[in-house]
Symmetry: C2
Subunit: 238 residues, 2 copies
């Protein structure tokens, strides 16, 4: 049993944070309720859209993010996980605001990538346009030694962003096919692994069969929800 309580700042989107809580539970070795990890989910879908704010076209989400963090700390949480990649654009301000560690989703995903693609390999990154624009993954993965490619502008506009919006609208099955096409296009450009760098994407990914890839190619997938869940379990059990 652990007395460490995990705080989860969620609602971005709400299905992604629900899926995070499910995966946190399923990935925890436990035989009875009391062996699972105490967690508090602050699911506030009213938090202003992160992408819109990043483009300077909508209200700043930071005050709502900090309110959630304050609520989680007041409830006794000892660390915070945020199952939203784009919200990590405000990571420094959030971490500076609070006394407990925030588990960084991109660092967790990068750890998982190490076992899935050798350094030097081409790695594809998908996410919201805002996450790609802020280079949440590109800079650190390139620095670590991978060769990073992202979805083409056309794929981002016609496949990836529609997929993300469909998951937020509960159209999970419909979101599957466009994501598979975006992944297949990255693989055709040489990607050996693809980072699903938006927490809506793993939900769309698991809603149907694996992508059909040309020439019998294979691809490794880094699921940022699972990566953050495993980092959270490590924290709780440490």
């Amino acid at each position: 049993m652990t007395d460490r309580i995990l705080g989860v700042l969620g609602g971005m989107g709400p299905l992604a944070s629900a899926h995070f809580i499910t995966r946190l539970t399923l990935l925890t070795p436990a035989q009875i309720d009391q062996e699972h990890i105490p967690a508090i989910l602050w699911s506030d879908p009213r938090i202003p859209d992160r992408g819109t704010a990043m483009r300077g076209e909508g209200p700043d989400p930071l005050p709502a993010l900090l309110r959630g963090i304050d609520g989680l700390i007041a409830a006794g949480c000892g660390a915070i996980a945020i199952p939203c990649n784009t919200a990590h654009g405000w990571f420094e301000q959030m971490q500076a605001h609070c006394s407990v560690p925030i588990l960084h989703i991109a660092r967790a995903a990068t750890e998982e990538l190490r076992s899935k693609a050798p350094l030097g390999a081409i790695v594809g990154v998908l996410g919201t346009q805002a996450t790609l624009d802020m280079r949440l993954y590109q800079t650190s993965l390139t620095h670590a030694g991978w060769d990073v490619i992202t979805g083409s502008p056309q794929d981002m506009a016609e496949l990836v962003m529609p997929c993300i919006h469909m998951v937020k609208a509960n159209q999970v099955r419909e979101a599957h096919a466009p994501l598979m096409r975006a992944i297949a296009n990255l693989v055709a450009r040489g990607a050996q692994a693809v980072v699903l760098g938006c927490t809506e994407l793993p939900i769309a990914f698991q809603a149907g069969p694996m992508p059909s890839l040309a020439d019998g190619k294979q691809v490794q997938i880094v699921d940022t929800i699972d990566a953050l869940a495993r980092a959270s379990i490590s924290w709780a059990r440490n």
Copy 2:
């Protein structure tokens, strides 16, 4: 958009409360994050086992339940849902303790039963042994006019309780077959509908195909997680 924040007292078990949050999200009509329902999940799997306490063989869960309720109210929640049927054995004490409504899971399930089985029909109820022993469903359903049957002592010991324990231990697929056998046995005894009166049971139910029933019989299922989620959405949107 709603400013009503739903409190969810969970962790009993943690997979059931994760599934509740998922169903709350999927059952909400919403096109974007900001149209979903704000919710705070207090998932405290350390809460002492409800069944053991009911038999006088373990610590009282009430103090931990009240701590969770206090935490949810401090965070601003305007109503509380508890996705655990057995915990409703302490419903009166919990409701007396707090100023906001607690949405009763058995009342929500009974509402759903009305559209699934005519009054006078035989209705099967499955749940923890403690939930059956406290007659959470039997008294009210009988009073309303249904003819209630429960799992046989042998089925409770060999199928239903093992199924519940398997879900709490993350063995979701393994939990499916024993539940299907328990349901089939209730149908063979005449049940036209079965209430899954423990929030682990819907998780086991959906982990595989429908039960195979003798003589081409059909059965209606009342999922207490979905029933409580729908009651929660009604509260939030009202």
